[in-house]
């Protein structure tokens, strides 16, 4: 088990402020394209944080290619990148170029400044280099965060609602770009269309895995249930 | 580790932001400033070591030439100016305020008010008085006279520091590094 490739959750659960957010999960994620769908408050972001080692498991354990993500931060850097749901929670630096260069510097890249320039030029956004990050629009900040993660070229990328704030052309371009990546992608979303082409889709419901299988099957069941709930005037069960 | 670092940077920035609150210039040349509230909060919220580190970081950037002191002042000239005693006292005041908040066995509101009062008022003005007496070549009692007007404002700030620290303890207990 120790050196198993992929992401392993062994009976991992998360309890925060006395509330169990994720019930014990045992999962082995090895597919190249994985989707995680679920309603607001179902525990998607918590699962991402658990996998990324940002929230420690309350019970059980988590391993990324045999590493403990909560401890081996430096080793993990080449293995795991994260796009946070809210860009304001991700941006660290006053200007765009510093923000992009930071991850490369952390990885010991020989020439971060040049790599950043090349990337911005390829994206037709060279004029962003000196722009203060806090004056970009919300969608622009979201896009910047994504570029920062891609630039680091990690083996697995965790994406939390990657398309939520992006406009259609950016979304289309990004979808193509992501599809071409050799890395493993784990996409978290409440909009199932975003993961229609995944190899495997998990449906998270109130901290439990409700379905797990090929995209078509999971999405069909999920959409039907969402439509049913949408007909009702309010949640009859206590969501979140 | 990361959390200590970001909180230290945040509070260094907080002192700078409080410098934008308009200062009141007194005849003595030492302004009444909201920045000493920031010094108190560094101690009461971050604790002795981290609080002093935040203040030192702020002073470093100020000396390097960022105009972060009240009224948009900064640079090496500060080292030769009469308020140097206060500047040297800043990190010490934060350290003491933090140590008292951490170790005093009282509820957080009271402990932090006392810490802010002893560190941010008594000790800080003590440093300031010594500084003025050296730089202006005055006796200590003469210099102390110049510091008297700050007492009212500094008392209000100490109470405010206590209230804010208490609010943080209630709403974000994990952020209160001084009590962990």
């Amino acid at each position: 088990m120790r050196d198993a490739p992929g992401i392993n959750l062994i009976n991992a659960s998360v309890t925060l402020s006395g509330k169990t957010i994720l019930h014990p999960l045992s999962l082995t994620l090895t597919e190249a394209r994985i989707g995680i769908i679920g309603r607001n408050g179902s525990g998607k972001t918590t699962l991402l944080r658990l996998i990324a080692g940002l929230t420690p498991p309350s019970t059980g354990s988590v391993q990324i290619n045999g590493l403990n993500p909560a401890q081996d931060r430096k080793a993990l850097l080449a293995q795991l990148g994260i796009l946070f749901q809210n860009p304001d929670h991700q941006i660290l630096f006053p200007t765009v170029e510093e923000e992009l260069a930071f991850g490369l510097i952390q990885q010991g890249h020989p020439n971060p400044a040049a790599a950043v320039q090349t990337l911005l030029a390829a994206e037709c956004r060279s004029h962003w280099a000196k722009a203060p990050t806090h004056t970009l629009s919300q969608g622009q900040r979201h896009y910047l965060c994504l570029l920062a993660v891609l630039l680091m070229n990690p083996g697995t990328i965790l994406l939390d609602e990657p398309f939520a704030g992006l406009d259609l052309p950016t979304k289309a371009r990004l979808t193509r770009r992501l599809a071409a990546l050799p890395q493993r992608l784990i996409t978290i979303t409440h909009a199932p269309a975003a993961v229609a082409l995944a190899d495997r889709v998990l449906w998270l419901d109130a901290g439990h895995i409700r379905a797990d299988g090929p995209a078509a099957a999971t999405i069909k069941a999920f959409t039907a249930e969402m439509a049913r709930l949408g007909e009702q005037d309010a949640d009859t069960h206590l969501a979140g | 580790m990361e959390k200590n670092l970001t909180h230290i940077a945040l509070f260094a920035a907080l002192i700078a932001v409080l410098g934008l609150v308009p200062k009141i210039d007194l005849a003595s040349g030492v302004p009444i400033t909201a920045q000493s509230l920031g010094i108190m909060l560094c101690g009461t919220v971050l604790g002795a070591r981290n609080g002093a580190a935040a203040v030192l970081l702020f002073l470093f950037l100020t000396l390097c030439g960022l105009p972060l002191l009240a009224g948009g002042r900064g640079g090496f000239g500060l080292l030769a100016s009469p308020t140097i005693g206060y500047l040297i006292g800043f990190p010490v005041a934060a350290f003491v305020a933090g140590a008292i908040t951490t170790h005093l066995r009282a509820n957080i509101g009271l402990a932090s008010t006392i810490g802010a009062f002893l560190g941010g008022l008594v000790l800080l003005n003590g440093f300031g008085v010594v500084g003025m007496s050296v730089m202006l070549d005055k006796t200590l009692p003469e210099a102390a006279l110049l510091a008297a007007p700050y007492m009212i404002g500094d008392t209000i700030k100490a109470v405010l520091a206590g209230l804010i620290t208490q609010t943080i303890a209630a709403a974000r207990p994990a952020a209160l590094l001084s009590r962990r």
């Binding site: - | 670092l5 230290i8 000396l63 640079g75 202006l136």
Partner: protein
């Protein structure tokens, strides 16, 4: 961010920061060793002459940076006139003016990035006390980012308040602003961990 570096390029802008800081230290030690008002007047004149080489608008900016000293000068002057020791008073005022003006000259002719780099190099021995230079550089960058973020946060919260209230929030914005700032720091810490952490 605005810095105190003068946009007027002078010859001193081209000198290395370390040399300027060394010269400043020597000058300051000398100024504090001098006791005679005449010698101090000569020193102050020399400093003024050096500043004047920067040109008219540079000199005016230097003068503006001395303004905060005015109240002290008035107090010292009055005091020494009352105690009938004008010589001593003149020495104190001249020493203060010369030392502060010389130091400001270094600040005004050195770019912020050079100054930080030089002082970081000077602080390298502190690494043995546990001050990691990379962590230190990161702390500086984070502080510089947090200042506008915090100001913007205050504005958005004030707007959020105004969107639902006819009254201005005043001091009441302090509590939500403090909590929001702490949340920002918390999120930043995680973002940092997500990209390899400190060290």
């Amino acid at each position: 961010m605005l810095t105190l570096t003068s946009p007027v390029e002078t010859w001193a802008h081209r000198l290395p920061a370390g040399a300027k800081l060394g010269a400043l230290t020597a000058t300051t030690v000398l100024l504090f060793a001098l006791k005679s008002p005449l010698a101090l007047a000569a020193a102050a004149t020399l400093v003024a002459a050096i500043i004047a080489t920067g040109g008219h608008s540079f000199a005016r900016a230097s003068l503006a940076m001395l303004r905060p000293l005015l109240p002290f000068i008035v107090i010292v002057a009055l005091w020494h006139l009352i105690t009938r020791a004008p010589g001593e008073g003149a020495a104190i005022v001249l020493r203060m003016l010369a030392a502060v003006a010389a130091a400001n000259f270094v600040t005004m002719t050195t770019r912020l990035a050079d100054m930080i780099a030089t002082l970081q190099r000077a602080a390298r021995p502190l690494a043995r006390l546990g001050l990691n230079p990379r962590t230190f550089a990161l702390a500086i960058a984070l502080t510089i980012r947090f200042i506008p973020v915090m100001l913007k946060r205050m504005t958005t919260l004030r707007h959020a308040w105004r969107a639902r209230s006819p009254r201005r929030p005043g001091w009441r914005i302090l509590m939500p602003a403090t909590l929001a700032a702490l949340d920002d720091a918390e999120n930043t810490a995680e973002a940092l961990r997500a990209r390899g952490g400190t060290g």
